[in-house]
Symmetry: C2
Subunit: 461 residues, 2 copies
């Protein structure tokens, strides 16, 4: 029976594609089918800015697993095919390709419908339900191609949203020689990645290269012959308006989960508007799993509902769903660490665990230290700043943020600490690898832990 | 009483210097005195090869804390001063500088006498108790200066010992344009750092650049006018002899702890010939601590006696001794992880925990994976190989070895796992930081854990 399991996956992004792959690895006999509404099979959305910048040659290079690849693994894959309806009583889904409808049975269904860009209300950006020329989002290969084709035509690029993706896009267009402006509604940049004290130095330095307007929303686009010309932004504190010359506008203000299919069959939807899943990626509906950006899970530290916005998490959920749907068992950790990183304009940033303002119910103290990646006598050392969050009562490490040399790898150490409920007293004594050409005798990471530990122990006394 | 504590430190290497510093930080009133037999205050021995190679300008650049620096911290420091005798009954030590003897009282004594190079018996290397011209060791700044002065005079350099330090010296002399030969008595290179399966690929690639004779010992030096000319090496399996042209010979065959002072006062000496210390760096003698390369501690995983040979550990012991001697408390982890790393000839290697052959009593299974530091579509990915050792019975990670991109930082993650008794099942699911320009969605580290976990779980069934 398990051998003949029919597994249907809706969506072939990182989460859905991985789920299908792992289902196949787990069960050589299962019948596995993927329906994908787009033109492409599993590709890296995160790589899009690097094709725009020219670091990666072609958009097609981002396709990690081709249609052909899936077919060789005996996974049926249907592109440009939408799912019309799911019938959970007789376990059938109805799909549509160019008006041709088909029914497919499933034993296990994996919903991986992803998310789509959230587009704030801005006057004049729509025409006939399409974004006007020069107004862009960046979620798909087609979006990327559109931006690339518009670069030649202009000099001024404006990005709405100073999150990781906004900054990656900003860097890509900067590398193409454009003059960059970033508009951010919140008071600082990277508000979902770093606490303000960690992002502020980056904010300051970036302003040498690009214009950044924080506390500003974009209210209106002024066009000329159907094409963007300027945008109007408004200071949310003073209400003062200002016009910004803009040849390309890219909106990078987050995403909203695609949940209509799941909602229709009664899957519980959570506070973040994602499909609620458990540590096996099961939804509230029998035999239905959900994975990736359409889902909601718990934060490892705070247990609060958290939306999914990271490819790394999508892949891990995909692994779990594929293995579980195929009849084996894979249980994810009890919550998300949200280990995150990026590099732009020479800054490497990384973080793990909840931000300061997401920790209301957990009393957290912080230790922070800035030093060099190498001992002072060795040439080539680079600055690295680390901030460690510690539960005031238990001493457990709950979060970490880093900016600088090897920030991501250092944050991985902290991720390992958080996942294993490590105490800051232990981690501050961690023997880190030392060699003059690689890292100092005492890493900035353990020194930051020292600082946090001193506050913690003073508080305990 | 504690405020007036008299703390005497013997030796101003990384361990002793750090101990004095931390004693001062802990106790502003303590009277702290350092006696150092050499000419220099706390400097980085590990940096010596990089002055020889020219990456660091001058040997003096290695001095991290000058005599002046210590004096500003109100730490009395006496260079070129040897300790003649320790009297533990009246807590006095007798020191000697140019035949002038002085007595100094202590309440707490910290022995940081370090180690000196172990020199194997080789015919003709000594003359009047000194190594003949061209025959070198590398332990002190003076040793480094001697090597540097000899580089100009020759073309052929031979290093005895293919450990981390031997390879660092080899690279330094290679960078100075010399032709390099390495002689190693054991069957492979890096026998104390990596298991053979991890070191073999490096061994093979290195042979394109330098000559390596494993299973060979050096029996004899042939000289000309008091200066080295050739060495005679012997294959330990076939007994076949061979002559190697050598203008500079550097012996890098490990060290032996300097323990005579400690032995004389009755400090327990361990199996590795180091002074046995506990997690507070206390010796078996009251009020006497010992730190750094002269000591012996336990391995964290195997609990076996382990000698100290890493600057990172010396510094951590120094921290503990300084704080404890000054009246506060600092307890080190129950054993050493021996987190170690180096970079040479383009290879970054790192490891933590015991090697395979040191694990007799612990049943260990291994998971190994080689991949890239970046996803395949992103340019600039570099190979990285990781091997994870797991306790067959408990599933705990006990060791890790890595060669390649960011090996050291990846090994730090494993060090954190080992220190916190993390299970491979947890770590294989670790959310590592992902971004196209930084690291793949699934890091080689967690994939290696996957491989190890599969073996572990198969074994459990």
């Amino acid at each position: 029976m398990i051998g003949e399991t029919k597994i249907v996956v809706i969506g072939c992004g990182a989460a859905g594609g991985t789920a299908a792959q792992l289902a196949r690895k787990t069960n050589r006999k299962a019948k596995i089918t993927i329906f994908e509404k787009g033109k492409y099979s599993q590709y890296s959305k995160c790589g899009l800015p690097y094709v725009i910048s020219g670091q990666i040659k072609e958009f097609n290079d981002l396709v990690e697993f081709s249609k052909n690849w899936f077919e060789k693994e005996r996974i049926d894959i249907f592109l440009e095919t939408t799912v019309d309806k799911i019938n959970i009583k007789n376990r059938k889904i109805t799909t549509k390709k160019k008006d041709k409808k088909t029914e497919t049975e499933y034993d296990k269904l994996i919903i991986a419908t992803g998310a789509e860009p959230f587009i704030p209300p801005i006057e004049n950006i729509w025409k006939n339900n399409k974004l006007i020329e020069g107004v862009n989002i960046l979620r798909t290969i087609d979006d990327g191609k559109r931006i690339s084709s518009e670069i030649e035509k202009g000099k001024y690029a404006t990005i709405i949203g100073a999150g990781l993706i906004g900054l990656e896009i900003a860097e890509a267009l900067y590398k193409k020689g454009m003059r960059i402006t970033i508009i951010e509604a919140l008071p600082g940049i990277l508000e979902n990645t770093l606490d303000n004290d960690m992002s502020e130095p980056i904010h300051k330095e970036l302003q040498d290269k690009i214009n950044i307007y924080t506390n500003h929303i974009t209210t209106k686009v002024e066009q000329k012959q159907g094409k963007i010309k300027q945008i109007v932004i408004k200071n949310t504190i003073t209400n003062k308006e200002r016009k910004i010359d803009t040849d390309i506008l890219v909106i990078a203000t987050g995403t909203k989960p695609n949940i209509s299919l799941a909602k229709n069959i009664g899957c519980k939807i959570g506070k973040t508007n994602g499909i609620i899943v458990n540590e096996r990626t099961e939804t509230s509906v029998n035999n239905v799993y959900a994975v990736g950006d359409c889902t909601e899970y718990k934060d490892f530290v705070t247990a609060k509902a958290t939306s999914i916005g990271l490819g790394s998490i999508a892949v891990r959920q995909g692994i779990a769903a594929g293995i579980n749907a195929a009849g084996n068992e894979y249980v994810l950790p009890k919550g998300l660490l949200n280990t995150r990183t990026s590099k732009f304009f020479g800054f490497e940033v990384a973080a793990v665990g909840p931000l300061r303002n997401a920790c209301e119910k957990i009393p957290v103290i912080y230790g922070k230290f800035t030093g060099s990646s190498l001992l002072s006598y060795f040439p080539g050392g680079e600055p690295i700043s680390i901030k460690i969050g510690v539960n005031k009562e238990t001493g457990e490490i709950v979060s970490a943020q880093a900016v600088g040399s090897n920030a991501a790898q250092r944050i991985n150490v902290c991720a390992c600490a958080i996942l294993n409920s490590a105490n800051v007293e232990a981690v501050r004594k961690l023997e880190t690898a030392y060699a003059p050409s690689i890292a100092p005798t005492l890493d900035v990471l353990t020194i930051a832990c020292d600082v946090a530990f001193l506050k913690y122990s003073r508080n305990k006394r």
